[in-house]
Amino acid sequence: MGEAEGGSLIRLENISKAFGAIQALTHISVGIDRGEVVGLMGDNGAGKSTLVKILAGNYRPTEGSYFIENRPVSFANPAEARSSGIEVVYQDLALCNNLTAAANVFLGREIMRRVGVFRVLDHAGMAVRAGALFRELQSETRPRDLVNRMSGGQRQAVAIARTRLAEAKLILMDEPTAAISVRQVAQVLALIRRLKDQGHSVILISHRMPDVFTTCDRVIVLRRGRKVADKPVASSSPEEVTGLITGAIDYGE
């Protein structure tokens, strides 16, 4: 189970990560193509977070290589990964409740305009652009609304619009549907499909089988730091994946 399939966009080869005596990941090889939505599943402690953190630039692998569009990369911090097109949508969305939707989308990347000698925030410009991003995602989020008044689905739209703004190549989403209502889950999955339509690749960490099977093209299962399955969703089943996660099944063909 060491070869990566495809991987024209992102490729990890034989990635291992150790924290002192703890071996978090062992010989993981993963390939992601453009426009693929990949589900990353596994029990707690299987290494999903570690793998995502390596992709996002939080950690450097102890061993192995990381390629973006066939170029080898090595990130010292998440900012470097971001500038190479890797964006993360955190479980708590990392939004500032006291700011507007537009402000959150542009946080750290504000549009400025000139007024005399000063460069000031271009509120109108950012609202217009954010509104366009929300419309593209077919979300009814309004750019000038404060985030603390928004539903879970709208907040997800804001977090995802940030990645669109960054023209991310790969978007890593950590349990995006974990703590929201059923209706909002549908909204979020629709947003993810919209991202795919627009050519982004998505890695979705999720514990929710139905979400992975309806939204993802492929599913990767980790168990105790090793990859035990990497196959199209169409040629697997929830029962098989459950077995792979728990260890009832050793390897997925």
Binding site: P78, A94, C96, N98, L99, L107, G108, Q138, E140, R183
Partner: protein, 340 residues
């Protein structure tokens, strides 16, 4: 197709009613604490002028105007600190130490054009020390500034040897004119306060710095994750507060005509009261320049009203404390309404 329908049905809400109608704008203004405090300032003024004829006189009103400016400028300096979720209870002590330093420099015959920048620099430096401990060592703001409060007060005693400074060398006329003088009939400190308020308003609403200050107060982790330089910005808000304290000290020294080392003692509570009453949240994430000004004005108006009404001055603390609690309750009600 089906999923699109779900989105539309799910997000239809009262909030979809356009906000740009007059009713919508009025509702937004009415939901702001600053609006209610402004009303309170006028209401109180009206009530007090009915009770006593001495309130609405030119002398009295210009006294109120002048007095509130000192707390107002300090409150303007406190506002960005509060927005980031911090606090600075040493602001009165910093002001006192700056005043003492200015007095001593001028007494040693420094020219004003050298003494002023030195004082401002001192305020900024003290703020930077606060900010450094808070942002880089990640110590709690309350405790760090509590320490600074103690140290600054003691420093003021040390450098002044416990004595009053009342002669200011070659710059005496200049400092009195600056701090106690009027331009076009308005006390100079009022111009300083208005200028500070405008500068803060611009910084908070039109610059990246202001947005980052709000972001840090709203979700510091999120701010860090988006690449915002959280620590330098946190230091800068305390430096801003220190600068405002130094500016206040310049005008206060010029107006009082002498400096005791007790300058500013106890002011920190009035400053915090002014900012909170004006709508700033102690939990961080919200605060405005206008709020700092109007909250400070309300407190000073209250003190003046109590004095004119013949209320025993010892009661002032009770009234001010009552207003603070009222303002916090008002804030809490608003927050609860929003959460619904």
């Amino acid at each position: 197709m089906t999923s699109d329908k779900i989105i539309h049905a799910a997000t239809a809400s009262l909030g979809d009613v356009p906000e740009r109608t007059p009713v919508g704008i009025a509702r937004r203004i009415a939901s702001r604490q600053e609006f209610w405090i402004t009303l309170a300032v006028f209401a109180m003024g009206l009530i007090v002028s009915i009770i006593t004829p001495h309130f609405a006189t030119y002398t009295n009103l210009s006294n109120v105007l002048q007095n509130f400016c000192y707390i107002g400028i300090l409150a303007i300096g406190m506002t960005p600190i509060l927005i980031t979720g911090g606090i600075d209870i040493s602001v009165g002590a910093i002001m006192g130490l700056c005043g003492v330093a200015l007095g001593l420099l001028l007494q040693a015959d420094w020219p004003l054009w050298a003494g002023l920048p030195a004082t401002l620099l001192l305020g900024v430096a003290l703020g930077a020390i606060n900010g450094g401990f808070i942002a880089y060592l990640r110590l709690p703001p309350f405790l760090v500034t509590l320490g600074m409060l103690s140290v600054a007060r003691s420093m003021a005693l040390i450098v002044s040897s416990g004595r009053v400074v009342y002669s200011f060398g070659q710059s005496e006329k200049a400092i009195f004119a600056l701090g106690g003088g009027k331009t076009f009939g308005v006390p100079n400190v009022v111009y300083a306060m208005i200028a500070s308020a405008l500068v803060l308003h611009f910084l908070l609403t039109m610059t990246r710095w202001g947005r980052y200050v709000s972001a840090i107060g709203g979700n510091q982790r999120a701010a860090r994750l988006t690449g915002i330089p959280v620590r330098p910005i946190k230091v800068s808000v305390y430096m801003f507060g220190g600068l405002m304290a130094a500016i206040t000290s310049v005008f206060l020294v010029g107006w009082l005509g002498s400096v005791t080392n007790a300058l500013g003692q106890g002011d920190e509570l009035r400053v915090i009261a002014g900012t909170v009453i004006g709508g700033a949240s102690l939990a961080g994430g919200y605060g405005t320049a206008y709020g700092a000004v109007i909250g400070s004005l309300l407190i000073e108006e209250l003190r003046n009203a109590l004095l004119l009404a013949g209320v025993n001055p010892f009661w002032q603390g009770t009234f001010i404390g009552g207003f603070i609690i009222l303002a916090i309750i008002l804030q809490k009600i608003q927050v609860t309404e929003e959460e619904d």
